[in-house]
Symmetry: C2
Subunit: 660 residues, 2 copies
């Protein structure tokens, strides 16, 4: 197997190192990543040895230990940008843990929603881990619909305190990460009442456990919500309040306030906090690219090494399973999509930082609606695609893909909730659709759409009819995507007619979601084409050539997979559909020799991959055999319950003398 991969690498038509540096964002970043990986692999605190056999408490503790080892590991590197280093380290740890919400939500919420004094008070304590916090929004009965939350925080003017309370079973806080056992504090989203008036949901910092004993504080009932499909290093928890009293200043008052006498002062500008949401969603898009790369790296390497069936008559060597067309048709489009998502997430970051700058420097918030709509849709589009891709990659690996040691199972299980949290994907698509329809309607009324929606005028879609001309013309393919999105948005707009948006969304929900997806497919293809153009001057002709194949493959496979949408209005006819399929098969065989080098260019370290099937050297069988020896089940030669359950029966058997 090692030899197989060596030969495959030697076949490549381009220099994978060149592409690796490009994807890493330049030589410096590339080297930094290398250094970080070597620091982590030589530090026992970060060891993943035996991780796939961890029971839940072991996994929790292992992960906690890794997070706690981060600060000194980061410091030891002495880099200019410690935050960037920590970020990469967390990426390599590749497991959300009990401190995730503390770092990812508790601190940022205090930073974003607290006032100056509150920030000054809390942040240092957070950094020193004198408290660990979580973000408690979701309730047993309430998730998507924020306004439905039932937990109350009622202001008591006499004592200048809030009374935080869970009035019903369904108001129990449910899901917050790190709440189950780790946290001492929580940002609690609760319905604020002052003077009998309901002001809607606001954030409160509430201490929930004693700092010395870790016992839940009086009035707090807390626990873990038990095992989940994945995410089991995180102690997602539940929390009920029985009239718990907190100081007035427990409310985060960066925006709205309650004064001593109970006067409610609403936030001056609403929606300022949308920025964070956009940021988190762009993170999810970036992660989508990362996990797609991970899954396809493992699968392609194993498919190059695995030989099964079709033994050569002369050599007796069986065929590399990647040479089965169905493996290629599954894996190479995912490979291409990983590149496409990489480019899309670059674009989102850029858009986000431009917005940040403009909103700070010029108080210009005008990009927000577009940013919000795009990030919502892309979060949904990319996380769905990635979840499906991980599973599809696994399936090309036969039985061994099902073992934990392959790495697919845990990757999928822990990736899966990306389609549910930070906005359920369907709900996000509806938001994107609503924005698209609004823009479309405005355009009909003569207002030109923002740049990203220029295709809505249908102009680019006309030229796409010439697609047949060249199936390797990425701009023509992009036009087909523009056409499809334009058509689906236009039709959704048409059926909506005079209905109120709410009513229309209800009756035409599936169609709206379809329009949003088509838009997102266009945006992804658009960014891939754009990035390819920008790369022209920066890489060798060979690398560019390979990238061009990936752009075309991504474009054509995306069409083939939803061909009905292109055929339905005759934009493409049956013959063209068949041609597209033929062209895809050509592309697959052109990409085939570069498969090993392409996944190498993602530069994913073995420590990150943590996969016996996907390790860089291809030494699959030795790894599987060796790693399996450490499985806890192998500590004893008898199974659990043997003495009581099996021995009495088995020991009656006597097979020593028989001739059978």
């Amino acid at each position: 197997p090692k030899e197989d991969l060596r030969l495959e690498r030697a076949r490549a038509s381009f220099n994978s190192r060149e592409l690796e540096v490009l994807l890493a964002g330049g030589k410096d970043n590339y080297k930094l990543r290398q250094r970080i990986a070597s620091v982590m692999t030589t530090n026992e605190a970060f060891s993943k040895r035996g991780k796939y056999f961890d029971e839940r408490d072991e996994l929790y503790e292992r992960t906690l230990r890794m997070y706690l080892a981060l600060p000194s590991a980061v410091a030891s590197m002495n880099e200019k940008e410690p935050i960037a280093v920590a970020r990469i380290m967390r990426e390599l740890i590749d497991e959300p843990g009990g401190l995730d919400l503390h770092l990812g939500m508790f601190i940022p919420t205090i930073q974003g929603q607290g006032d100056e004094e509150q920030r000054k008070y809390w942040i240092p304590k957070c950094v020193k881990l004198e408290c660990v916090g979580t973000y408690a929004q979701t309730e047993l009965g309430h998730g998507t619909y924020l306004r439905g939350l039932e937990t109350t925080a009622t202001y008591d003017e006499e004592r200048e305190e809030f009374v935080v309370h869970s009035p019903t079973l369904t108001s129990t806080k449910w899901w917050p990460g790190g709440l189950g056992k780790t946290s001492t504090h929580a940002v609690v989203m609760a319905r604020l009442f002052t003077k009998g008036v309901d002001h809607g949901v606001h954030p409160f910092v509430v201490q929930i456990r004693d700092n010395k004993t870790h016992e839940p504080l009086p009035g707090c009932t807390i626990g873990d919500i038990g095992n989940k499909m994945g995410y089991n290093a995180v102690d997602n928890g539940f929390l009920r309040f029985d009239h718990v009293r907190v100081q007035r200043r427990a409310m985060l008052m960066g925006h709205s306030k309650v004064e001593r006498d109970g006067t409610y002062v609403p936030a001056p500008v609403a929606k300022v906090s949308y920025g964070t949401m956009v940021f988190i969603r762009s993170d999810i898009v970036m992660n989508a690219a990362l996990y797609m790369k991970k899954a396809v790296t493992i699968a392609i390497r194993y498919n190059l090494v695995r030989r099964q069936s079709n033994a050569d008559e002369v050599t007796g060597m069986e065929c590399q399973v990647i040479d089965y067309q169905h493996s290629q048709r599954t894996l190479f489009p995912i490979l291409a999509k990983a590149f496409a998502f990489h480019c899309t997430s670059d674009y989102m970051r850029r858009m986000y930082f431009e917005f940040q700058r403009d909103s700070r420097e010029k108080k210009d918030f005008s990009a927000l609606p577009e940013l919000h709509a795009t990030s919502s849709g892309l979060k949904a589009y990319c996380s769905w695609a990635t979840k499906d891709a991980i599973e599809a990659c696994r399936l090309t690996c036969g039985g061994h893909g099902y073992m934990n040691l392959a790495g697919f199972g845990t990757t999928l299980a822990t990736y899966a909730p990306n389609v549910t949290y930070e906005g359920d994907n369907n709900v996000l698509c509806l938001q994107t659709a609503r924005y698209l329809l609004k823009a479309h309607r405005k355009m009909l009324n003569g207002q030109p759409p923002v740049d990203a929606l220029r295709y809505l005028d249908g102009a680019s879609s006309r030229s796409a009819l010439a697609l047949g001309a060249s199936l390797r013309d990425e701009k023509a393919i992009l036009d087909a995507y523009a056409h499809r999105a334009w058509r689906l948005v236009t039709e959704a707009s048409k059926v909506t007619g005079d209905l109120s948006p709410d009513e229309a969304m209800r009756v035409h929900m599936v169609q709206w979601i379809g329009a949003a997806k088509a838009h997102c497919a266009f945006v992804v293809m658009y960014n891939f084409v754009l990035a390819y153009d920008e790369t022209r001057s920066r890489v060798s002709a060979e690398t560019l050539n390979v990238l061009h194949r990936l752009v075309c493959l991504h474009g054509l496979c995306g069409m083939d997979d939803t061909m009905g949408e292109f055929l339905e209005d005759g934009h493409i006819d049956g013959e063209q559909a068949a041609e597209i399929r033929q062209e895809i098969f050509k592309l697959l065989s052109e990409i085939r020799p570069d498969a090993a080098a392409l996944v190498d260019s993602f530069g994913l370290h073995d420590y990150f991959l943590n996969s016996a099937l996907g390790a860089k050297d291809g030494d699959v069988y030795r790894r599987l055999y060796e790693e399996v020896q450490a499985a806890p089940f192998n500590r004893k030669h008898t199974p659990p319950g043997y003495t009581e359950l099996l021995q009495p029966k088995l020991s009656r058997g006597n097979f020593g003398v028989s001739k059978l």
Copy 2:
């Protein structure tokens, strides 16, 4: 929530009990199932309490205990058909365990491949559990390709023994269920050598562990392959032989033989063992129906109870999430498909038993090729669909669907390998395609195809052009399926042209698989329509009406999901495609009031479902809250590693006096 389900049941347009009895196969079966469930739920040995929080050794032992409790539970019922009772009980246990291969493969292989004397010797010991066996075929380096197996059994004429040996790392037996820790014996598939000649792979019964001590016997290296995505109550294992000697009669000699002097006597009739394979595959189709029912029952019940968003202005009640169109468009087609698969598996059983009878009574094996091809394709088609359906159902349940207590995670994880074992699905599709193309070619040469393939003449496909006439005409819809399958098989046949089947399969693999899938989609729709017709005289008009909607929904959604294949040759035009979508939405709203009653009609017992979201009474939130209290993480109020890792930091925190 309980009230919600009560009201939903009251809304039904038909009597769910009537349908339940029909699906159970009559009143007697219906009652038998009820009795079995009540026996099991009152027997502590079968308890599933806390199962979702089991660590691996607990899950193994719990499951083993259940299997061991089966014989007396079956006996206690005193039924005429104890085997049928045991089968239903295993279905309700709903967890493959360490004895699964013993019951499902070891015993049947001895029965099917052993000679009279061997059967007489082994079977009683197997039944008394004086030995536990497994079936060891797959090797670390060899799965699909049986001829690639490397384990050898070399006959030593001197000592009249076989020497069983694992010559390489890749020849290590890998995957057999129950091998890791449970089994004392294995049927080992090994390459037989006599007098230096390789006779290919044959089955040998080899003792691998000592009956008294359970230690691996000399020359056997055995262990567990560690945690998998699911299936963790089974100890899938590995096994290496170092020149292990067994008696000559260890070889199962029901078909081929080796005589004392080493003469090899081949089997008189080849392929007799295909029957078993067909049986196992038809089992997988039946299970597909069962697990689809399970997932959709849980999801529909929860979607009826869960209320989220769109609060009513007057009552403040939020909307039942099933009333979101995207939930219905996901769940109701799966509901319909569960019925379709139910009918398909009935048909496969019937086909199988007819073949059994004909082959036994009339020595007529002529149905085998068709049976083999159909069961291969349907195994693939149904297991793929079911795996996807379980995940789709989960996604409609938001965050709670991700908890183990929901039941989706473990169901999916343990169902997943159905697409890989008993023949990888892609490989099976290719076998089906090969058969279809052969039949097509014969037909072109004037030989009429078997009944099931009559559509290959393209005759029925012509009338389908009139589809637009009535989208509620199930026969017209079926014709569209026939047309699509006919077209794809014909085209695959055309491109194959003069290529050898092997070469054609290689170059057109994806197209071949597509043709096989289209054929299977037709077969499933065909059986659904047929079963519907047969039901006409047996149920009330109301029930028939409901079934008719399901048949149409299944047919139309299957088209909508792959619309490109119908549009590509103009069999359907864009307007019809749009009409089909409209009709689907109409059907969804017609089915909506019957949703609760329809899943009730599957008659799945709460004990089987084992889901806080899917229990019959709909009391979701109370169940979640109560069951979570038992999670092992909640035994202590501190997390694992607390004293060492967290306490030193947290205890420095002091929040008692602050005003914040």
